[in-house]
Symmetry: C2
Subunit: 222 residues, 2 copies
């Protein structure tokens, strides 16, 4: 990831703890500046900053670039409204082997600090697509040979009945409203995660984990 880091700031303490990282940055010709704990706290958006702050270039790519690399699994967050959930889903998508995560429509900025932290580094592992219109995403993905699956508590097809072997784009809505009606209609199928107990529904990031890992299992032959 050195090619995305523009500048590195760190407290004396953090630079000592992460000597390797600082060394890597320096050998790559990246400016490294020592700052006070107070400055580190002001620069980071969290209550317990780790003391090391990297200024990075934007890393998102156009949808076309992401699809041209032909990942078998793509996760799309349509109008996400919770940065913590959005970042967690980026991390889960990476773990499940997704090659790209699309932030579709208006919603949480993929560069939101809380989202970046929840993604735990996975924003650097997947092709991030930012602010792509949802209906164009569906049309482009279908044209590229993907099956586009929407998720909804009221979905007609149960995840348990799906054959997930083909390249898939999963569409996840937001916690408050789910997916917009025009997106549900444009998708190839609307899937619900089966509920075996009495819960009304799953939390968004839990539902995404179950769906993405169902694809991962199908793609990896178990």
């Amino acid at each position: 990831m050195p090619d995305v880091v523009v500048e590195l700031f760190g407290t004396t303490d953090a630079m000592r703890r992460h000597r390797d990282l600082v060394g890597t940055a320096q050998s790559a010709g990246i400016p490294v500046d020592e700052i006070s704990a107070k400055s580190a706290a002001a620069l980071s958006e969290t209550v317990t900053p780790q003391g090391l702050i990297a200024v990075c270039r934007s890393i998102d790519v156009p949808l076309r670039t992401a699809l041209d690399r032909a990942p078998r699994l793509v996760a799309a967050l349509v109008e996400p409204n919770d940065p913590g959930n959005a970042g967690t889903i980026v991390r889960t998508a990476d773990a499940a082997g997704a090659g790209s995560v699309v932030f579709a429509g208006d919603g949480v900025d993929p560069y939101n600090g809380k989202s970046i932290r929840a993604a735990a580094g996975s924003v650097f592992h997947v092709d991030l697509v930012a602010g792509h219109p949802p209906l164009d995403l569906i049309a482009s993905a279908r044209a590229a040979g993907y099956r586009v699956l929407a998720t909804s508590g009221g979905g007609v097809t149960s995840l348990a009945d799906l054959d997930l072997s083909s390249p898939t784009v999963w569409l996840f809505g937001n916690e408050a409203h789910g997916l917009p009606p025009n997106v549900l209609q444009a998708a190839d199928d609307v899937i619900s995660v089966p509920i075996y107990g009495q819960a009304e529904s799953l939390n968004l990031s839990a539902a995404a984990a179950v769906c993405l890992y169902a694809s991962a299992r199908a793609h990896n032959g178990r």
Copy 2:
């Protein structure tokens, strides 16, 4: 759930919106009191209270009671430290058909307001066991015929290779430290969720969702 509600407080507005609920409480002989929006805000621990507050009895049961009902799936949170994650896992466990959720050892109180809200009602659907010692949980569950599976990023057995048809207790550690070494050692097996991409690990509640739904699938024949 009327048998657990001791008293109900609501703002004029909330009581109008939830007339059915208020009616049910009144017919069950539960005292219902109108309060100001300011009082509702003070009584609830959240920034946007829904305006209806129920005082409830404790609902946790002894481990023996929970195991005597012979649920095929049990989730145990060992020393959980994040109330949001703990509540989300209660909700996911309920959705996956777990009959009981055990809060084992010291950690987040299952009655923590944030945990209760994240559980979205599921605390009333499962047998909740509070503060049970982890090693005794393992011994008691094994004696009752359960397979006890610990989870760890460094687990020796991959979830993908498991036969999960038998009654199972899943042990989940906390975000910061995972499961304590003595718990990992006492379990029947230590399981890791396979990582197909470059993420180092999964968020705790995502990992729990993947594990609990793997059991749900095995128990429900798909």
